[in-house]
Amino acid sequence: MSIHDWFKRKKLQKEAEYTRERLDIPGNLWIKCYKCNQTIYNKDLEANLKVCPKCGYHFKLGSAERVRQVSDNGSFKEIDQHLTSKDFLNFTDTKSYAGRIKDSILKTGLNDAIITGTAKIGTYDVALGIMDFSFMGGSMGSVVGEKFTRLVELAVEKKIPVIVFSTSGGARMQESIMSLMQMAKTSAALGRLRENGLPYISVMTDPTSGGVSASFAMLGDINIAEPAALVAFAGPRVIEQTIRQKLPPGFQRSEYLLEHGMLDIVCERQKLKDTLTKILRFFKD
C-alpha cells in the first residue's frame, strides 16, 4: 500500500462521514460526534434527542423524528401527503429533475421536502409543518410552497396556531422562477394568518437559508432557532467571495442572529417542546 492509497482512503472516509451527516443516517451502533469526536452509543444519542451528551452538538433530524419529538404521542395527522413535484421545465443539469425527484422519493421515503398536518403539542392543537433536509437539501419548489400555504389556510379555517420547523438550502433551482414565486405565495398566506389574528411560530434548524429564510422562516411572531444553526440569506461562501475576506467566527449562527436582534430565542432541543407549549399557552389564554 502506497502512501497515496492511504490518503485516498482517508478522503473516502471523510466523504462517507460527510454524506452520512447530510443524510443523517448513523452508520453503526456507535456513532462519532461530528463536532467533538466523542463516540456515542446510538441508542443513547436517540434518547438524548440526537444531541451529543458531551458537547451539545445538535445532529440533524429527519421530519419523522421531529414529529415524534415535538408532538404529543400519535397526535400528528398528515395532510397533502400525495403532492409531488413535477419537472415542468424538463430541467436537466448533471441529471434530470424528474430523475432527481424519483431518486429522492426512493431514498428518503418522503414525497417532498416538507410534511404538514395537524397535531397536538402539550395538548394544544396546532398546524404543524416540518421540513426535511434529506429531500434535495430541503429546497423549496412548488410542492413545499403549496403545502405550506395549504397548512396556513387550514389553520385559518380551524383557528389554530401554525408552527413550522425550517431547514433548507434555499429555492429549488430546477423549478426556476416558480420556486421564487413560492416565497411570495407563502409570505402572502402568512399575511392572511396574521389578519385573522392567529399566531405563527417559526423554528429554524440547521441550516436555514436563501429563499426559505427570506420568506416564511423569518416571519414568525416568535422566531426560535436551535443552537449553532446556520441561519442566513446568502451562504457564507457567497459572502466571502463578495467581500473577499474571512468571516468572523460564529457568523450567521443562531447565537449571532440572537445578538443582532433577528431571533427571540435560541432553544436547545431538550427544552423545545416545553418552550413551544408555554408559548402556545400564552396565545391560548
Binding site: 433551482m173 416558480m178 416565497m183 440569506f233 446568502a234 463578495t242 467581500i243 433577528m262
Partner: protein, 326 residues
Amino acid sequence: MPKPEKTKYSRPILEFEKPLLELYEKREKLAQIQETGKMEMTEEIKQLDKRIEVTRQQIFSGLTPTQIVQVARFIARPNTLDYIGMIFEDFIELHGDRNFADDPALVCGIANLNGRSVVVMGHNKGHSTKENLARNFGMANPEGYRKALRVMRLAERYDKPIISFVDTPGAYPGLGAEERGQAEAIAKNLREMAELTVPFVSIITGEGGSGGALGIAMGNRVLMMEFSIYSVISPSGCASILFRDAARADEAAVAMKITAKDLLELGVIDDIIKEPQGGAHNDPELSAKNIKSAILKQLEPLLPLSHRELIADRYNKFRKMGIFNE
C-alpha cells in the same frame, strides 16, 4: 458579461451588435459631411438608415437567452431614474429607512403620473463604474427594502397607487447585510406587499434578480420589458451550482426559462412591454413612452377596486403560482 467595446463610434455597443458597427460609423461620417454643408447626403443617409433598421431587426428578432441577458444588463440601458424622469412629473426622492441609513441602490419617491399622485420606487444601477460603485450595482441592503416598505406604507395611508421598477442582480450578499437582517427585510416586504390596500404595478425593466427583485415586485400586475430577465438565480450562479461549471451559463440561461416570453407562458407575468428596435437603450424616450402607456393601461381597471378587492386580487394572483402533481 462581456464589456462593451470601445470604438470610434460614440455610443456603447453590445457584442452581438457588431455587424451594425460599420453601418453606424458610416452613418456618423455621412452626417458629419452633411453638417459641413459640402455635400448633400440626405438620400444616402436615408438609405443607410433603412439598412441599419433591417440589420438590427434581423439581429434582435432572434436573440438567444444569453444575448437577452446581455441586453438586460447593458450599462447603457435606461435605469430607474432615467425612466422616472421621462414618465412622471414632479418627482421628489424620499430618503432613508428611519432606522439605519439611506440606500442609494434602491430609490423611492413621490411623483405625478398623468395628473395622478403616485408613489414610485426602483433599484437603480449606474451608467458608469463610478456611478455603479455609488449605487452598489443596484444591489440593495436591508435598509433599501425597509425604506421601500416605509414608502409603500405612506402610499397606503394616503391611498396612492404604487409603481415599482425592478432592475437588480439581487439583494446584496454582504456581511453588513446579513448582520442587519437581509432575509428578514425581504420576507417582511413580501408579507406586507400582499396586504397593501392600494393598486400596485411592478415592471421588470432589466434584471429581475431573485429575492432582491421580488422584494419590491409583488404588484397586482407584473410586467416585463421585452429584453428583461427574471430568475431565481443568475445563469452563471445556476451553472456553477447545478452544472458544477460556471462556464456553462449559456446552457443554464436556456434551461431556466428567464425571458419575458417564457414567464408570460408560465403565467408569472401579466404582459410584455415592447421595446424599441435594438433594445431600450436605442431609444430611451420611446421605451419610456411604452412603459407609461402600459402602466396606465394596467392601472385603470385597478383604480375602482376597493381595499379588500385589491388585497384579494393580489392574493389570488400569487396563490395560483406553482406547478405540481396533485
